[in-house]
Assembly symmetry: C2
Homo-oligomer: 231 residues x 2
DNA sequence: CGGCACGTTGAAGGGCTTCAAGCTCTGTGG
DNA sequence: CCACAGAGCTTGAAGCCCTTCAACGTGCCG
């Protein structure tokens, strides 16, 4: 049956792993399950956040638009990640737009369910605080990088960060980034332009550090890339 | 008596406002009250976070050091702010160094107290989630700015952000930043160099938007500054 | 009043953006 | 099947914003 399948998926997320079966049932009953196609939007910047989402399969990204039309990628999400929870808990408006990087399936939940579960299960609160702490640390790390580092380093960091999120082994120690990733996308993650990303990747490809194709990157020498990110 | 004074200070923080007197007493008994002088450090980057702090009076800042010796200011704290709570709750190491911008008094607490209070008082959890959400939003806003905006805009934003934190009326619609703030400090908040800050402030002073002195800035035309921050 | 940190200003240069033109790949429809 | 449109990518050239280096003011505090 479909519902128990979904329940299994939910149970496998880090956030809900500690919850008893009864609580999971409660979530499944309160939640709506939806699919979304690559390129489609889950919600838009400024929209009131009356619901939040659990990504059960696929990939999504969170983008913020600037007043002068540029887009900045704030996060990439994969299976098990929560999207918009923090905003929904505070009943704010979404600070960005969520776009599907691949066909995805999600579970939609009202924040009230979350609050009541948090009151009943202390472990859940702990997990949420941990999750928020991790996101804040990553955000601060990016601020530090954008403030003090050169474009090369930032692109290298974007690649290593992506590798830890969506990297799959490609044999011979290589790691392929399992996501459709244009030069423009990488630029939005690194705070630069698509031209600079293109030039940088070309240089690295010539040095054998990566191989790059159309919307596709695989890291051949991750050690060299880490060095570039640090120095 | 000193203890009740401190208790009053704690009660006036946004976080603890909703707690009953008994809980506040519990905090006061568990907490240590300390003073710290301008320029001194509360904790250092990398140190294990076994305690967190409530700033009762004064001003502090949180700085991250980069590998190549640069400093990046992550946040400025004033009365009522919590420092290191998020880290302490996850039992991590401090991701930055906390420095006193002015003589300050703080309350030191072990995270265990916080966990037990959060379990007893749901309102506290709500408040903490709200607080973390606000910090995350500010961090994301800075990432967006650093990724897409010019130095001028970022300096203007740093000033307006500081105004909302430590701004005091200086008559005639002017707002004085009540903090010792060197050009270097502003540069660390804006992701630029002290020379560029100096040049920019000089230009703005010539236009009558601000007046700047040694470690001191007052905003004369906050509307013009907001315009600079947006365009 | 002298030392030192803070601040200003100039000049040079470079890293990165911007503009531009052409190329390559992919998917789509006749 | 193949041509073609369009999105993605590459590369070059120009230039500017900003950093970097440097030298000199300036104000504060012992």
């Amino acid at each position: 049956m479909l519902l128990t399948e979904h329940s299994d998926l939910l149970k496998n997320t880090r956030l809900f792993a500690a919850l008893p079966a009864a609580a999971l049932d409660q979530i499944c009953r309160a939640g709506q399950f939806t699919r979304i196609e690559r390129g489609a939007f889950l919600f838009h910047q400024g929209q009131p956040a009356d619901r939040f989402y659990v990504l059960l399969a696929g990939q999504m990204r969170l983008v913020q638009h600037t007043t002068d039309g540029k887009d900045v990628t704030m996060a990439v999400f994969t299976e098990g990640d929560l999207i918009g929870l923090i905003v929904a808990l505070t009943e704010d408006a979404f600070p960005g737009t969520a776009e599907a990087l691949a066909d995805s399936t999600l579970c939609t939940l009202p924040p009230a369910v979350m609050w009541s579960l948090m009151n009943q299960h202390a472990a859940l609160s702990v997990e949420i605080v941990r999750m928020m702490a991790a996101r804040l640390h990553e955000a601060h790390a990016r601020i530090r990088e954008l403030s003090a580092e050169r474009v090369q380093q930032r692109i290298a960091r974007s690649l290593t960060r992506l590798a830890s999120k969506v990297g799959v082994s490609a044999g011979d120690g290589a790691v392929r980034l399992d996501v459709r990733l244009s030069r423009q996308d990488l630029a939005q993650m690194s705070g630069t332009t698509l031209e600079t990303v293109s030039r940088t990747l070309s240089a690295w490809e010539a040095q054998g550090i990566i191989s790059a194709g159309r919307e596709q990157v695989t890291i051949r020498d991750s050690h060299a890339l880490m060095t570039l990110a640090e120095a």
